[in-house]
């Protein structure tokens, strides 16, 4: 890269709006799939806990999907969802999020100590009501732990989408690399990192609000 400086502040100054758009796009294509993943993981997780036989086959399917290389999946999807569309990137990311969130949901729901579960039954909770009132709240710290992993990996994976034309901040890496111009690469790294850190902080705050009783326990020390 010769005598090109690491950061050209002038470029950043003239591209603020562009950077902001990329950041927003990145946030949407990486975090929306995590939200979708969560919305699917919750009912699936509840079903798996209520009907344990479902869990192994479902978990196996999502594990296989998780093992597929992201880029390959993007490319396979292009004929169906089109090049450079959000769907091309978000579909596999949703599957990845689900692959992480389904086991954490199930573990969380199962983390209710046996005496607590039995006390709930003995006090007159039916099975579904108990899932909603006892198992689900107990699972919150697990869910947050799963969401942190899912969100951060989704934010990082979304960059790869740039190779199929829709990668949010990932585009900065391609651009900088092709032009041997490091400034966009540095900006991209900083923004991706910032997005990951802010997301993580928000999730921790959510845990604090939703599960104040777990604040001092390391329920999720795994």
């Amino acid at each position: 890269m010769g005598d090109e400086p690491l950061v050209r502040w002038h470029w950043i100054g003239t591209h603020l709006g562009y950077l902001r758009d990329l950041l927003l796009d990145h946030a949407v294509i990486s975090l929306l799939p995590v939200l979708f993943g969560l919305l699917m993981a919750l009912p699936l997780g509840l079903l798996c806990v209520r009907f344990p036989r479902l869990y192994q086959p479902l978990a196996a399917v999502f594990n296989v999907i998780y093992a597929l290389p992201a880029l390959a999946v993007f490319v396979v999807l292009i004929p169906y969802t089109g090049l450079a569309t959000q769907a091309t990137v978000m579909t596999p990311l949703t599957c990845y999020a689900l692959a992480v969130l389904l086991p954490t949901t199930v573990d969380g729901l199962r983390s209710v100590p046996e005496p607590v579960r039995q006390a709930a039954t003995a006090l007159g909770y039916g099975p579904w009501r108990r899932l909603a009132a006892v198992e689900l709240p107990t699972a919150v710290p697990y869910l947050v732990a799963g969401l942190r992993v899912a969100a951060v990996s989704s934010i990082s994976l979304a960059s790869v989408g740039a190779l199929v034309g829709r990668g949010g901040l990932g585009y900065l890496f391609m651009d900088g690399f092709q032009r041997t111009f490091p400034t966009p690469i540095v900006a991209g790294i900083v923004l991706v990192t910032a997005l990951a850190l802010v997301t993580d902080a928000v999730l921790l705050l959510a845990r604090r609000l939703l599960a104040p009783w777990a604040r001092r326990e390391s329920v999720v020390g795994r």
């Binding site: 607590v116 006090l123 107990t138 919150v140 009783w213 777990a214």
Partner: protein, 356 residues
């Protein structure tokens, strides 16, 4: 009243948990199930609230077969306390206690008011209401468990080794509390323990079980200690059952000597109010004085007082702790003899129940 009518439980894997139980649990009293680990106590308890469904026979609650009742509704009408308390970790103490009222659809305010009353009833300070279970000691959690079971004022209470996870001092405190509550509330209590001391202390009726829920003996505590049905029950009751039986007899009818009688050179020193301060003999002083309250304490306490005193007399005090007289060991034993027909020989004829 609960009636077990040939109630049996065989698990799908073939394990026979309870062979076929015939037992009546009277209303308004405490019935204690004792027996070795694995003999089916928990299974029997859970047949009542349908957490275990009998594979043969029936369980009748006030004449109705529980199998005909809706399980969740039935359970809301039965208090249930377990060893580990099983409090909901994500709910504050007050909301833990209000669980059943919420389930019954009470409005929040009424449920919480009721929950506060119960916290007070089980002796927890008001500031514990806002805490989470992990912020409580084991004994406090157990109290919350009892309060939660009582919240909707169920006539029936099932307790499965509720106090066995706490240390002996706390346990004894919780037992006192339960006795006090029971004197006030008169619930039908079915209590499981494998601690015979606890059974004797709490039970109006004790059911000694063998493996597969077979009944070895049903009796009131005094009868059980005085006249165990057989060698096995006697062995289960332990070696000093005679002495422990004294704890069930009031210290009454003991002939007292005047408080200032010197004995063996020992005299009892008292303060201005007349409370004992120590034993004195010439230059010697012993500060600890073991006392008993006639009518309030048991013969065991009286005997203990006599055994501990250097002058070999039990010190009788009134409710305010003022000395009212001295009872030589012989006088305590005479009182025991006077209780005559009530002891072993007399009891065998009437007491040993036939398993129903």
């Amino acid at each position: 009243m609960i009636r077990f009518d040939g109630a049996a439980k065989r698990h799908p894997d073939g394990t026979l948990a309870v062979e076929g139980l015939d037992l009546t649990v009277p209303a308004g009293r405490t019935t204690v199930l004792v027996g070795p680990s694995g003999c089916g106590k928990t299974t029997i308890l859970r047949m009542v609230n349908r957490m275990v469904e009998p594979t043969a026979g029936r369980v009748l609650l006030d004449g109705t077969d529980v199998a005909q009742l809706d399980a969740a509704k039935l359970r809301r009408g039965i208090g249930y306390v377990i060893q580990q308390a099983g409090l909901f970790p994500h709910r504050r103490v007050i909301d833990n206690v209000a669980t059943v009222p919420y389930l019954l659809g009470w409005d929040r305010k009424r449920a919480r008011t009721r929950a506060s009353e119960l916290l007070e009833l089980v002796g927890l300070p008001p500031e514990t209401a806002r805490r989470y279970p992990f912020q409580l000691s084991g004994g406090q959690q157990q109290r919350v468990g009892v309060a939660r079971a009582l919240a909707a004022d169920p006539p029936l209470l099932l307790m499965d080794e509720p106090f066995s996870a706490v240390d002996p001092v706390v346990r004894s405190g919780l037992q006192d509390e339960l006795l006090r509550l029971q004197a006030e509330l008169n619930k039908t209590v079915l209590f499981v323990t494998h601690d015979i001391e606890e059974a004797v202390r709490l039970g109006d009726q004790i059911v000694v079980l063998r493996e597969h829920g077979r009944i070895a003996q049903v009796a009131d505590p005094a009868t059980l200690l005085a006249a165990p049905a057989d060698e096995q029950v006697a062995a289960f009751l332990g070696r000093d059952r005679g002495l422990r039986g004294l704890a069930l007899r009031p210290a009454e009818g003991i002939v007292l000597l005047a408080a200032n009688t010197p004995l063996d050179g020992w005299t009892l020193a008292v303060d201005q109010e007349g409370r004992p301060t120590g034993w004195q003999r010439s230059a010697e002083t012993i500060r600890q004085v073991a006392v008993f309250r006639p009518g309030l304490d048991t013969l065991r306490t009286a005997l203990d007082s006599a055994v501990l005193s250097p002058a070999r007399v039990a010190v009788a005090v009134d409710h305010a702790g003022r000395v009212i007289g001295l009872a030589p060991r012989a006088a305590v034993l005479d009182a025991l003899d006077a209780a005559g027909p009530d002891t072993a020989a007399g009891i065998t004829a009437t007491g040993v129940a036939d398993g129903r």
